[in-house]
């Protein structure tokens, strides 16, 4: 169940781009069509396609089609173990950033 480092690297690389992070934020609210994402970020469709491809390859999002129209692509976040592990690491890093900042303030106040 554990994620390979290469997968984590790919996930981190996918999230290094601010527009792709924004896509992940939007998909965290609910699944959305590619066109809707492109409009929300004010990006041309081909650019959004490239971002979605990167996110798909990272395992962060999955693509599906609504039953009524096979041409429409719906994107949603994937609840894979890797994604959960990544979130754990993010939270742990955030926690330690805050703790070390508090530690630094404490030490330097007493110095």
């Amino acid at each position: 169940m554990s994620a390979a480092p290469a997968e984590i690297d790919r996930t981190l690389a996918a999230l290094a781009d601010p527009q792709r992070r924004r896509v992940v934020d939007l998909l965290a609210e609910r699944p959305r069509a590619a066109g809707e994402l492109a409009r929300a970020l004010e990006l041309p469709a081909p650019t959004m396609s490239r971002h979605l491809k990167t996110l798909r390859e990272s395992g962060l999002v999955a693509e599906s089609h609504p039953a009524f129209d096979a041409r429409v692509r719906i994107y949603a976040l994937r609840p894979e173990p890797m994604v959960h592990l990544l979130r754990w690491l993010e939270e742990a890093e955030r926690l330690w950033s805050e703790q070390l900042a508090a530690f630094k303030a404490h030490v330097e106040r007493g110095a």
Partner: protein, 154 residues
């Protein structure tokens, strides 16, 4: 294949003082974090029992003591290693924290490596205690802070 977290910064103090502040005074600087709380109860006060084999404990407001971990290496003023386990961790998840204190001129570079997170099972209790959407929405913030801290260290 250990997944780890690594954070470092510099403090304006000598290593011996930084080590002392990190251990003996942890109750004064540790900030309870609602998303990463050690127990489901109100946060308490953290304290190290100094020396190898000593515990890192949290004394809760109701007086109960929760053991977060045990000291595996106690090498003042350079190095400290302790096991770390929160109440909401799955039973088979044991993480470890290594803290290093390196003199850089008159200052000390303090680094924290928290490792062992590759054993978080997808269906663990821990997962269900975490509100996924909240975490996802924090991704952007986290990356900004992360990149800023890397810059600071570099």
């Amino acid at each position: 294949m250990t997944s780890k977290v690594y954070i470092a910064l510099r403090v304006k103090a000598a290593p011996a003082r930084a080590f002392e502040a990190f251990t003996a005074e942890i109750g004064q600087w540790w900030r309870p974090n609602p998303l990463f709380q050690t127990t489901p109860r109100d946060p308490g006060l953290l304290a190290f029992e100094p020396g190898a084999g000593g515990r890192l404990i949290e004394t809760l407001k109701n007086g109960k003591v929760f053991e977060i971990g045990r000291i595996r290496a106690w090498e003042p003023p350079e190095r400290l290693v302790f096991s770390y386990r929160q109440a909401n961790f799955p039973l088979d998840l044991h993480t470890e924290v290594e803290v290093r204190f390196e003199a850089v001129g008159e200052e000390t570079r303090v680094s924290v490596e928290h490792r062992g997170f590759d054993r978080v099972p997808a269906d663990s209790v821990a997962r269900h205690r975490f509100p996924d959407e909240v975490l996802l929405m924090r991704l952007a913030d986290w990356w900004r802070a992360h990149l800023a801290s890397l810059k600071e260290v570099a």
